[in-house]
Symmetry: D2
Subunit: 462 residues, 4 copies
């Protein structure tokens, strides 16, 4: 890696993003140690151009002279000479996501997110893999030595596809779900009186992470010399109704929840599940947390609706217009994300230990080599060294392993463009385990017809 | 191994058995190449003595001078100097088995066998492991070089426990469930006209076997030059109502079934499941085949009742009295089992390729090393060489892996005599995936209280 | 595999061969169960045409109507529709082989074969890999479902290159070195009086094989019920001067030897080395068996000269002319090779257990996955199932592992066409361990310049 | 782990040590964050008592009130309730070490250390294993939750023996050989002008470490944003005569060297060897660096003599008397060791990334699981998380793997107390690869007779 920290070359794929891209802009706006050019590529050029204007205006105001923003007319020119690549795309539009989330409901299958596992996640995987194969080839041809940050879901599938298409890629996946659990652990440490005079942040808490994205687990957690596992146990016991603010935020906001799923998993398995409840629920047998909409309410989380996402998007679009036109300056706050810190660590500006998604090279002894797993890793100059975990206890393994197998299965089916193989993996997803085989086939055919791009060339092959 | 084929020393643990032991007696009665002594040990000395008389009488009549039958007063004297050890025991009595099978029914959990996985299988495992630890220690001390044949269920747990207690043991597990599927394949070959003039036997069919006991799969099957997989596919399609004789034997006999579960698994996954339907069903999500007693009927197999087993035992006891007293000579037929052929192969009297249960040393690339798996192996003089499989396709792996994890979990919990760890694995069994956590705990506590032996020293430890 | 045993389609790459090809012809001439067409492709079309005439004449005389012989103008047309592919080529001419064998002698490095490991073997690997990449691509494009038999050395490198270029290939390597040791074991069994009235053949002896080609080991050997390992131990002790006929054949024929290397390895490690002494010697530290030409003589084997090979070739050429012209009919005898039996087993005409070279998928627990290893396997209809070995004892592993690493290294360097990487592996070969670094570099550069094909595009890259 | 940082319980096995123990005392003397009791156990009680007096006097003077020093009458009482255990013992006396080092010289085998691999290291392993089995059992019985620091050589063998005897042990090995190479890298960074105004310390250099103890390798090295690998390459090229001070310290001091071995290994393999030259040399073929005493001189390092060690010990004994009696206060300086920092990290007082010796659980993908390897790891509260490396390039693997196999072999032989198995591993050591088999046997027998303790019960068993 020949990066010059003052003349970095960053390519952002999905550069019209109003979520992860804005977060990155905000972090760059307060960063004094590095600089360079940010090139935005998006299949929607107008969105990329709006973000270019937003980013440049923000930088000119807050961090003048350090960063230049450009748009790229195509992937090749976006990537040419890149030191870092960010990928955060929406694989398909909201209409397709509506199919992912709602089509299975006819069969009594409910999803709280629908982008990772379950029928929605697997169908989304079939759309995403061809896109990620194209990205991997473009990186191979135009920026083979760049570090690639992935933010797109399904995370494990995206990262696996990148490595399968271009084994030499230096890609990894970033996700903030674990951070939330670290914050929760900070609350338990405070509740136990471990930091009388201090408001603890998530970075005060040390955790060891093991699992697969959105179904990660913490087996060791500490605050300084204190073991937080027994403290968490007491906290769970003391909060039979979960943790929520007075106005029950989860009732309004599908991204909120009261930790009841997390606490129940702890009671079952003695291990701290480390992702949002709405993600965790989708990996478990449907009777546990997603039995019916009413049951979901009792567990105090929400089924995501696409309507909600559309409304949110419209608000963000308005905001984007106002930022891009100069009516307002984008608001920024320290994001709590690790993207910028990781970039600096890879440049040699300070080592960083955090959790990350990478192909398993030995860090998860219980999962197959090559499967994309989430563990701690040390980021240092031009390297990421994942840390070997103790593995997962057998009962948790029994829950995690089928999803690792299914992720391998759906990626293999997508590379082969084989709907028959994809359907078999679809039928092995625990969320569908209550459906009759004929219904599984009908649902799969319906979702495939409505969400897959004919240009990708899927057909029944095996 | 210093065995002399004409003066072999066989120890039979569970020597009062009226099932596997009689099968072995029958096979020995027609065997001219080997001879020696058979020592029967049983916790019920009367049963052992009855079998001694039965065996000796049979031998004197049919194969005089080759075999001598004795009983052994204890395990140590039974094992002393043994070349071969057979273990087929009933871990606990029928009252305990009744709890295994019926206690979960209160919660809507139905089992067709209850001795391998599911609540019954896991509870039985907790009873069996201490017994098998004792056997392993006795083999280590009195017959460390003997080959140990296991016939007891839960097969994988028994074999795992033997190796965990005495890593140097030469043990393996024999099961005839695959044979039945070979016979079914012979029928499909005949139906396809491949052997116009011939009634095919199971040994005419060549299969490649991969999986775990009672949840084994066949990915390659042939009769001479013909690939039987597409032939099986057609056969399945041509038999939407399964395969049964005119009088629907499965309605009377819980050991019978119409292959509908097997055919459905083939339609789902494109792979030939190779065990009885009643076993296969227990490894799958409960909604598939064990949803309700009515559903079981529609799938044309039966829930085992202990009453049935008791009635069967009474009949066999009567038969035993008649055989032992000399009123009748035990009836024998070629058993179709491989026990005797394996013994001869291990003596160097002819190599044999068949399926067998062994710790995974590489033969099942998708399953953890050390887990007990069922694959083909070559038996030759003083060695068993398992054959490396191609592994299982991802969707099937997603079904098999949780059970491999649970088997590891229940063995670890049993070695630690830890009910808390055992309960966590219990709660991860797919058959219980529709129960509320509190019900899981109540069921576990109830079954443990009624079936575990206080002398084993189980308690909640972790 | 859709092969019709009476209309098989065999492609022979290196079809002008006067060694392996003639052996195959001879075996086909006595085979009544199968038939079809044999297509010969060779870079020397005249040699292919001569063999076509030889083969057809032989078949017409001995086995009329079963086999048709053709030549193929190119690889693509040779492979089109093939059921079986044989590959036995000479990678480079005898001039290049002379460099392989003799160039290192200037530095005191002596080789008894020079085609597997050591400076000669590694340089030959660099020539062979590009050829085998081309073969793999041609098989992928023209006969992806064919079974590919490799006979070319360096065996492990050739098979590895085929799989690395086309992971879906169904290739394996056949070698008869183990057979010779089985014959030696038959002699020991006779010497011990185990078969008083009988001349034993190698197939009477059962062995378990583990290792890498030409450095294979036998840890279990038996004749019926008798363990041959202690018998071999006694035999070795009783033959301190080795085993040779009265006229010391090894003095005249570089393919002969007196087993002294094999016996010495047994005395050192207690394990039966199972390849010709001249192969075994090259894998060991040079001081052991290849210290000087005089030492080689004391160990009673020979340094191969290329002169000898050239003389032998000339004799065979003459024979070829006489066979092709019709002056004489090719002489045949049962070859003792397994090629034909393997073909029949793969067609479903009878299972066969023998040793074979395949990528390690678990059969050699001590060697890296993917490395090409030699173990027993069961051949059956359209499948080869390798048997899991017990691995090698530590001291033997210490000898074998460096060569497995070097084979991986030389293949990787060859795929990258990187002379710098190749030189590093060259320098790690034990046979060169007495040379100064500067001499290693000079020798490597000299050999590369004189034997590598500029068209392959090798250069220093890393 | 229930340690209270102000009331720690440290047990020092080999507590009479004047090397590692004094280093620890010095570090404790300047540490204000932790305190407690240090219990010294030694087979030489007088040495322990002397150290007790030395330590207590030092603490009273420099760090009063924080640490109390005691001696322990036996291992059990030393370990009772320990939070941390240090083990640094001399396995056998200097007479035995003289045999280790000098006996092989009669056969032209020279050793520069003789305590890790080679004839001396392997013989020392046979003495050490029984002692470490006893330590492991004592830890299991008296301090099963303690963290055990090992400093004794042969490092890999000691750590392996601890885990093999008590798999639940929390042990690891600390070695400072890598630190020296980090210091050398700091020099190269300075020479390249990367830190114009600053004297760099080893902790300024970030390295990734992979290998086995004393044969470790660095594939990534950086100083802030700068890649040090190309800088090291230039440095090596610029120093054909190595790096030494004006008075050639290595001529007087066997612990000194001029880095020529290290530089030669870099030229051969392109990877930075990271241990002292005198250690590295012993892992390579004897012709490379240990051909003759004259060759060793040309490589600018020294053959260790035991005389030198005895002289050094006498000086230290005198110093000990003076410290213990109160004539002088022990001199201390910041040691540069990580022992204290590791202890604090394990107490939760700050995470630490450094290199460490641990059983391979996946961190070294190319080496067998269970083998003791040296890699980076993160130390945090009550956990050590090793970092997954990229493995070693093939040519380096070819050098490292035989030693990993031999270490496994010698440990297995030592556990079995089997001299025959030990001799086989002895004969596979590369340093002995020039000896005749009969000489190997004679040397082994001689060394075993003169250095092994009859009480350990070694005999020829296999």
């Amino acid at each position: 890696m020949k990066a010059d920290k003052d003349n970095l070359n960053i390519c952002y794929i999905g550069g019209g993003s109003r979520n992860w891209a804005w977060t990155l802009f905000g972090d760059l706006a307060r960063e004094k140690d590095i600089g360079g050019v940010v090139r935005l590529f998006d299949v929607d050029p107008a969105a990329a151009e709006a973000n270019r204007a937003i980013g440049q205006r923000l930088m000119d105001a807050r961090n003048p002279g350090r960063w230049r923003f450009e748009t790229a007319p195509d992937l090749a020119r976006g990537l040419a000479g890149a030191d870092f690549v960010f990928a955060s795309i929406l694989p398909g539009d909201f209409d397709k996501m509506a199919v992912d989330v709602h089509a299975p409901e006819r069969y009594g299958v409910y999803q709280s997110v629908g982008d990772t596992v379950g029928p929605g996640g697997l169908m989304r995987a079939l759309r995403t893999v061809p896109m990620y194969q194209a990205i991997a080839r473009a990186v191979r041809d135009h920026a083979p030595d760049a570090w690639v940050f992935n933010y797109t879901n399904p995370m494990a599938v995206c990262v696996r596809a990148l490595y399968r298409e271009f084994p030499g890629i230096k890609a990894f996946g970033c996700c903030h779900e674990v951070f939330h659990t670290q914050t929760l652990l900070a609350r338990t440490a405070e509740a136990a009186g471990l930091a009388p005079a201090k408001k603890l942040g998530r970075r005060d808490i040390k955790t060891r992470v093991a699992g697969i994205n959105h179904f990660t687990w913490i087996d060791k957690a500490s605050y300084r010399g204190a073991d937080l596992v027994p403290i968490y146990r007491d906290f769970v016991a003391a909060h039979p109704d979960g943790v929520e603010d007075a106005d029950h935020a989860w009732r309004r906001d599908p991204f909120k929840f009261a930790e009841l799923v997390k606490f129940d998993l702890f009671k079952r398995f003695g291990l701290i599940a480390a992702a949002g409840d709405r993600h965790l629920a989708e990996f478990c047998p449907p009777a546990w947390y997603l039995d019916t909409p009413a049951a979901v309410k009792r567990w105090k989380f929400r089924l995501t609706t696409v309507d909600f996402r559309i409304a949110k998007r419209e608000k963000l679009k308005e905001l984007s217009r106002s930022y891009a036109s100069g009516d307002a300056l984008m608001k920024t706050a320290e994001s709590g994300e690790e993207g910028l810190a990781i970039m600096k660590a890879l440049l040699g500006l300070g080592d960083l230990a955090t959790n990350v998604n990478l192909p398993n090279r030995g860090q998860m002894p219980d999962l197959p080599l090559g499967a994309v797993v989430e563990t701690n890793a040390l980021f240092a100059r031009d390297r990421i060294d994942p840390m070997v975990t103790d593995g997962l206890p057998p009962a948790v393994r029994a829950l995690v392993l089928p999803h690792a197998a299914n992720q391998e299965g759906i990626v293999a089916a997508a590379f082969a463009r084989d709907l028959a193989a994809a359907e078999r993996t679809f039928g092995a997803d625990p969320l569908l385990s209550r459906m009759a085989p004929a219904d599984v086939r009908a649902l799969f055919a319906d979702m495939a017809a409505r969400t897959l791009d004919p240009a990708d060339g899927y057909s029944r092959k095996s």
